[in-house]
Symmetry: D3
Subunit: 249 residues, 6 copies
């Protein structure tokens, strides 16, 4: 048993509040244990310069934390005048993951901006951001679809993410919180589709290494967690969920 | 009557949720109509270099908006690599206003960081930030007081802020929302104490000017609004409210 | 009596040297006591991108100090790689104030750049900048008018600025110099038109507050000072002064 | 067969020139096909501020490309005034990977700086950088050891990296060059130790996904490639290779 | 004869107003034709970190132009967020030149900051800056000497600068103004001491080249101009001039 | 005799490896003693915005050092977020020098980018960069000429650079290495054409001065060195050398 009473294959309590803020085309507050992220999806009717005229869309993500989302206050990146390496890595990961399940041709020349703002952090902020951003994006695309139906709904499959890891004591565990994550020997982020295919797999030994057997065990835990997250996404999305991966008309 | 049905001297609906995020020493979600700001107060046990060794404390504020707090998405200041003039002006205003009711000697060599993060904007974000930051700050100082009571509680008076303005049609109005504010000829921000004294008074003609009579009318409206805001702050702060402005032991 | 021998309602010695530098369309050296500012007005035959094609003009201001304008040398903002919050606040104030008396439609698609460079500082640099920039701007617009007369002269009224404050001893005073300003409990900048209407009113308690009575007294002092400044501007501008606020032909 | 004639499990031609530049404590020019990277290791007798006094060392990496290392000229990051997200991600990966095989306690309070400068790029620059930086680092640590032998040689195991991927046609392949990499559906970077344990595993679907079976096949290819790279490192390092992973005296 | 009526070996009209601004330890307004530069010298009682404890002083220069010093308005370097290459080159030149005639040991652990701010530009701003900065510096050092006499006055010789060039028509000319300079084939800046020795010699063909004979002719013109400038500096400095290059007591 | 055994008028060992990296249109590794610079020339089929439509080309240079090109590791300019004054000065010098021998009209609306990346530094990196960049540029222009012959080959003359100086002991010397350069009283960089005309002449006293006689001696040494460098360039360029300075067809 883990120090917060969970089993090794047990996710933290998840909650999703769609429409949490009013201006974005899609928005959600996702809560994973004590981690809380506001995910918003904004639709812009053009693509970045290097893609113009190709008839394809784009999905771009940004990630940030409030200064006091963490136990100690962090200096704002705007005050530092630059975005840290960690933030860049996370926002590139979120964007790339979401693009793997979006049919950019079907989307047409539009950009979906995904803003993931962590208001409270307790581990797993990047995976909560991906899981939440997917829902916000589907809500936004669903609204476009209501006004002018797409020939083919541009979302090909569900997408969720979680972390798994090798704890200090050598146990494997699903969905690490901050205390577990800080002490873990190996930390792995998994992004998978509803159909169970990998989108991203990032395993990192923190001054440590791992074997093929440990890898297999971690992947099994992650897969289980992601199936549960996808089930929750379906509940939240309701009817719009039915459009995902639908055949072309 | 105003387009949202309010009287000219009527504030929007106000709500304050203390303890909205868990890590800061003091935090609150303040809602003023459709404007929502997370205010957090962080205590740091040292002061900026230029003040060290003087035995006085400091209060510093930062302000930001989520990119999609507004109707159109704004580029993050961290992506731009710099803080805009508008943001700097607002955070200087918040810090200066709060310092006017803090007894920096009584506080001792500590910095209170006030972070005001607008998650949804509909006009009046800077005044909502001041009103909310005051509450977050008093909660944080109240917690310090519980552990090691101050000889003199370092908050001298209540502090709240609101806006008043001359609408397009020439009417004066209290607590402008975004639609009113964008079209207003004159926009005035007022920061006042519980005792009804001015802390900041910033009146600006937007390609327009105003007379002394109009000024008097605007000040009267603002005063009424601030008294109502201070009453709400007292409710939220409960017992801690009683420590404010208290005599030295 | 004040430490430099002035009465409480007495401005410092003012001097204005028009044409101080040769390249700008309008320029002036304004001296207010020991504060000296070079104000120049440059005319550009286009407006910022967001305003193109609307047939309106724009007025934009920049403000800076030489490193040794002050008693202690300041690091250049170009060396720091960014403009400070104080500078941004001041240049936004100057631009906004000037725009309040310019008829942007009558000006046509042009930008007037106002550069206010403080070569010697002794308090009141932002108000001296506004008073001087107004003169430089009128000279520049006057020159345009000589070449191709405007249907309506695009300056609607005179504009000047001064500061008033509550000194350490509780006295009110007009046109604070640096020593008075540093110690003042309340500092207020006033920008008013020739007709006596307010354009900007910025009163700030420096770790202090002020009452409605004090406000009234400060406004009266400021009004008197601005009337004197406007009279000086008329002298300097000579015939061009007669065009200001003139009826449409 | 691949378009350059290689088998799917065949590395490109590898060459390593130790001592390629004279000033660094360790340096190497590594050539992998047409990819060429200068790796240098610099020893600094102190650690970053947040680690001082703990008796542990640190390993930090930086990565850059000459502007014309690529087919089209890239703008220098120094001209842009910032490091791109891609560069940050790569240098964080290199540093983290190397630290996994370094005994930071045994190293003592020193920083090893690893500079990986790509002078010619043809795919796989980050994995060539890791493989080369390991050799440069061992040379540098070996020189320290000659002067003042470590109680325990601070390098715990060999370390090398390569890429594997799913090509456009669905085939798996080892050590992708630029043409293969640009068109690949899945791109995976593997960092492994001499003992065959994982250090980093980063698999990314580029607007694509992959199954568990594909993952297994990719891991097998990668493992084979890394064993060959480690064998080459042993040759280059000669006697110093024998110190790696050695028991404490 | 040149288009402004000067002979080829004739300087423009020179004027120097010492004490032009009140705060710096030394200041001067230097006018060379229509070029006007405010030079100020500030004394700081410490040296840059890399020189501390060596008992030697330092001389550092900064150079800037007001935005409208030139015929067309320039964007401020503070707005651009960086200092241009041209500015850096000039301020490095000014600092290096002045240091050649200062005895840094005799100066002791102090920094002299020389600020050269061009308020009106008409060619030759860098050479006017050097000639003026020398006078401002000697005034500042002279004041230090009055309070606490130096064992050896730390200025070893006079220093002045001018430009010479090959005009479009092939003629050589002394002290080029902006019109001449823009069209010149070769532009050369000369910094020399009172004793006629070279400190800096920077000759540049602007898409052109020059012969040894042309070089000799240019050097002769420059030498003549510098002797005249040094004579003017002596006049301005009065008694303090006598201390320069003086023997050790 | 100098400490490395050279005569005062003796260059260090020079080597040039053309085609050192494969992507640029022209590239070379130039070795001057222990100084090694990769010079590459990239052709872009357009010119900077301010030159468009004039039918003239442009030549632009960038210069950088690997962090460990020097004895002590330097912080990367990309990490600092800005290019230093020294780098800017050098890249401006390289570009200006090369433009002096290029017929920009004959080149047509193209930019030649010259990247000089120092991989090992031992003094004279800027002059080695100019000498090498000239060769890389001619190779690149030669390739253009093969495809579509120029009416007039756009390179007017050979161009090479070297340094000369006054050593600590008062001797003059050609082609200073790092140890000589650090201690030299006077350092002079000379850029000359194949025909023996000056392009740039930059002599600098390092807290020292020099006489006309010393100048003459330095120029003679420099001239000799440059003639030898030009002879080497001719050898490397082979047939292409014959096109330089050729008459119009």
């Amino acid at each position: 048993m883990r120090f917060d009473g969970r089993e090794k294959d047990e996710l933290r309590q998840i909650e999703m509040v769609p429409g949490y803020i009013k201006h974005p085309e899609g928005s959600i507050l996702i809560t994973v244990g004590d981690t809380k992220v506001i995910c918003s999806a904004s639709v812009e009717d053009r693509v970045p310069p290097f893609m113009r005229g190709e008839g394809r869309g784009w999905v771009s993500a940004e990630y940030a934390m409030l200064p006091r989302a963490t136990e100690r206050r962090n200096i704002r990146e705007s005050s530092k005048g630059k975005v840290t390496g960690r933030t860049m890595e996370i926002q590139r990961l979120i964007g790339r993951s979401l693009r793997a399940v979006v049919d950019l041709e079907a989307l047409g020349e539009r950009t979906i901006w995904l803003d993931c703002d962590v208001i409270q952090a307790d581990g797993g902020t990047r995976t909560a951001s991906i899981t939440g951003a997917f829902v916000a994006m589907v809500i936004a695309i669903g609204k476009l679809h209501e006004v002018t139906p797409f020939v083919k709904f541009p979302v090909k499959d569900f997408l969720a993410a979680t972390s798994v890891g090798l704890l200090e004591n050598g146990d494997t565990a699903l969905d690490l919180n901050y205390v577990e994550d800080s002490a873990a020997a190996v930390d792995m982020n998994l992004v998978m589709t509803g159909a169970g295919r990998f989108v991203e797999l990032q395993g990192t030994g923190e001054e440590a290494t791992f074997s093929e057997e440990e890898l297999s065990e971690l992947l099994a835990l992650g897969k289980k967690g992601i199936q549960e997250l996808v089930a929750l996404q379906k509940d939240i999305l309701g009817e719009t969920a039915g459009l995902i991966g639908g055949a072309e008309d």
